[in-house]
């Protein structure tokens, strides 16, 4: 079974490039050049160097002993939280800024929800001296003030998205409108494995460093590069796509993708896309989408701003449909408890997004000595206000 994109830009029934003609020249330029650029020795050298010296890779694979004891399996955490800027998002922005430079682009735009991708984009723009404009929903600007300040500190312009529901989906709309209106010198750094082809594939390739490292790290630590379970949370799906990438063809590795159930899958306030969505088209790709019977996009809800998205990337839709990965969901409350548990058992405060993946451990049963890898996609610093309020700290 092929789990990767075909030459037409599709993963099975999903993917494609459903974009207005105004975006075609830019997307086509990227499509025709991204692989060639990524395979240039000079590109690879600079990319690897920056991942090492700037991001701090390889990120450690940590055997969480007390957590392992609690769940009766060998639980390893892939520490993307230790990356510069505190999440996996920077793996992608480093890659894309190098692509943008090679395409001769002078101006970078991005969308952001929680602000992690916005910060990671502002960071690489400062590093490379490129103009940076980040679109962020007006409501998220209020919720995520520290990340707004970080972006501004690094010289990015943060533009409030005031249309629609004023959150991530609308920030993405605004970024696409900006790109339509600036067709020549601008590159759009999309923050997840969503958007028109080639974005889902390009972003997954940049994030695939997560599983590439995990395999040799596991081999070093356990003698086998093949785990029994691999878990990751899914907003748009980029940390999961990177965490799954080099395990897709490993039949022993069971892949578990964790969506945000919000206040409960049936509560009307949820972001559990595979449970609640249907096939549809948003932001340039055909995937699974939360929508009304009339095809209007439904505004999702999760306590975690990074999982608060009504769709998933097309590769995930495919992995779900062909059942290569299992898609499950975790509520706000379950995630918050799992976050505190990790803090108290291991001394690591996870991003609430990552807490969703951790919470799934509670629902699984393991055989003795099974090996489990959880992608700890980010650190919880940005979420302290939410944790404080929730636990009355």
């Amino acid at each position: 079974m092929n789990y990767h994109v075909n030459e037409k830009g599709y993963y099975g029934d999903f993917g494609g490039a459903y974009i207005p003609e105004m975006l075609y020249p830019n997307v086509e330029e990227l499509r025709s050049k991204y692989l060639e650029i990524m395979h240039e020795p000079g590109f690879q050298e600079e990319f690897q160097q920056l991942l090492k010296d700037y991001v701090g890779r390889p990120s450690p694979l940590f055997l969480a002993e007390r957590l392992s004891e609690r769940y009766g399996a060998n639980i390893y955490l892939k520490r993307e939280d230790l990356n510069h800027t505190g999440a996996h998002k920077i793996n992608n922005t480093i890659g894309q800024i190098l692509v943008a430079q090679r395409l001769g682009k002078k101006r970078i735009i991005a969308e952001t929800g929680a602000g992690q991708h916005g910060v990671a984009t502002a960071t690489v723009c400062a590093l490379k001296g490129l103009e940076c404009v980040v679109y962020m929903g007006e409501i998220d600007i209020e919720r995520q003030a520290p990340n707004v300040a970080r972006m501004k500190m690094m010289g990015a312009k943060v533009v409030p998205a005031t249309s629609g529901s004023k959150t991530l989906k609308d920030a993405t709309n605004e970024a696409m409108r900006d790109w339509i209106n600036n067709p020549v010198d601008t590159h759009y750094i999309i923050g997840s494995v969503v958007g028109p082809h080639p974005y889902p594939d390009m972003v997954a390739r940049f994030q695939s460093i997560i599983s590439e490292e995990t395999r040799w790290q596991l081999k070093e630590k356990t003698g086998s590069e093949s785990p029994d379970y691999v878990l990751a949370c899914v907003g748009g799906g980029s940390n999961a796509a990177g965490m799954f990438y080099h395990f897709l063809d490993d039949a022993n590795a069971k892949l578990v993708a964790v969506e945000a159930a919000g206040k409960g899958v049936d509560s009307g306030e949820s972001a559990a896309t595979t449970m609640l969505g249907k096939e549809g088209v948003l932001h340039g790709s055909r995937s699974i989408l939360m929508q009304t019977a009339d095809g209007q996009v439904i505004e999702p809800y999760s306590i975690s701003a990074g999982l608060d998205y009504p769709g998933i990337g097309p590769q995930h839709a495919h992995l779900y449909k062909v059942k290569r990965a299992e898609y499950v969901s975790i509520t706000d409350d379950e995630a918050m408890q799992a976050g505190r548990l990790l803090a108290q058992l291991e001394g690591i405060i996870p991003a609430i997004e990552s807490s969703h993946a951790l919470a799934q451990l509670e629902k699984m049963t393991f055989k003795a000595n099974e090996t489990v890898v959880v992608c700890l996609s980010g650190r919880g610093d940005k979420d302290l206000a939410t944790y404080m309020k929730y636990f009355n700290l």
Binding site: E21, M22, Y24, R177, G280, A293, D294, V297
Partner: protein
């Protein structure tokens, strides 16, 4: 014969098309506005079906889409309203909107309903050429619906030729790569672009849209093409008060006198 083809075959003067969003400003204003536009001298009309995430649109059409959705507009309801359309309107009518509502309604069912309502063509900006050719072209043809493609100043000549081959109505030239509602700014490079397209001698007629808001921009566009399409400026006018139907004649006259 397709009304659109008849129009382009017979009309000598510049052609004016007007866009508005179904269900805006009021849920049941759709057919009244269409009828009034015909009476006032519009040559054809484009009825937008609203979508929650209109990425190719600027603030005016975004707002009209949101109001229309809030008013309760759906494709199902629009086709219900359009049953009255051909009793009152004889000029060509196109539907314009984003792909996801069409996909949910069902592409074949959408084509069937459109034809039944007397619609002549469809503009779906985010349905690209490749997907159209591979999956939906047969369906549009079966129901004799024109599919209208967009072209921008950045569209390559090769691609324009391909679009010309797939089109059967007209080709929609964007005045610039922009979202709707920006004003046409006729610079040397726009004139170069309009002229370049004109000299390609395409088999389909062309119309210019996006940024056409008044007589001056309409006349300018008509120098190079068969005519132009007014959208945001008209939608904006519809939002200025309850007597919008009464203002349509003056609006059309101000552009095409």
């Amino acid at each position: 014969m397709n009304r659109l083809k008849t129009l382009f075959d017979t009309k000598k003067e510049p052609i004016l098309s007007v866009y508005f969003t179904a269900g805006y400003p009021n849920l049941d204003s759709t057919v009244d506005i269409a009828a009034e536009l015909e009476k006032s001298g519009a040559d054809f009309i484009e009825i937008g079906f609203p979508y929650s995430d209109p990425v190719a649109d600027g603030p005016v059409i975004q707002e009209s889409s949101q109001v229309a959705l809030k008013n309760g507009m759906t494709l199902e309801l629009l086709f219900e309203q359009l049953k009255e359309l051909r009793k009152r309107v004889s000029i060509p009518v196109l539907l314009m909107g984003y792909f996801n509502p069409v996909l949910q309604y069902g592409v074949e069912k959408f084509c069937a309903s459109a034809t039944e309502a007397g619609v002549d063509g469809v503009i779906v900006p985010d349905l690209p050429m490749y997907e159209y050719e591979e999956m939906y072209c047969n369906c549009f043809d079966k129901y004799n619906l024109s599919n209208i493609f967009l072209v921008t100043p950045q569209t390559s000549e090769e691609r324009i030729r391909k679009i010309d081959g797939l089109s059967n109505g007209f080709i929609y030239l964007l005045s610039s790569s922009a979202t709707t509602g920006k004003n046409l700014d006729v610079s040397a490079s726009t004139e170069e672009y309009f002229g370049r397209i004109k000299n390609m001698n395409l088999k389909n007629p062309t119309m210019i849209g996006f940024g056409i808001s008044d007589k001056q921009t309409f006349d300018k566009a008509s120098e190079y093409t068969r005519g132009a399409i007014v959208g945001s400026a008209f939608v904006k006018m519809l939002g200025t008060g309850d007597d919008y139907l009464g203002k349509i004649a003056a609006f059309v006259k101000s552009i095409k006198s």
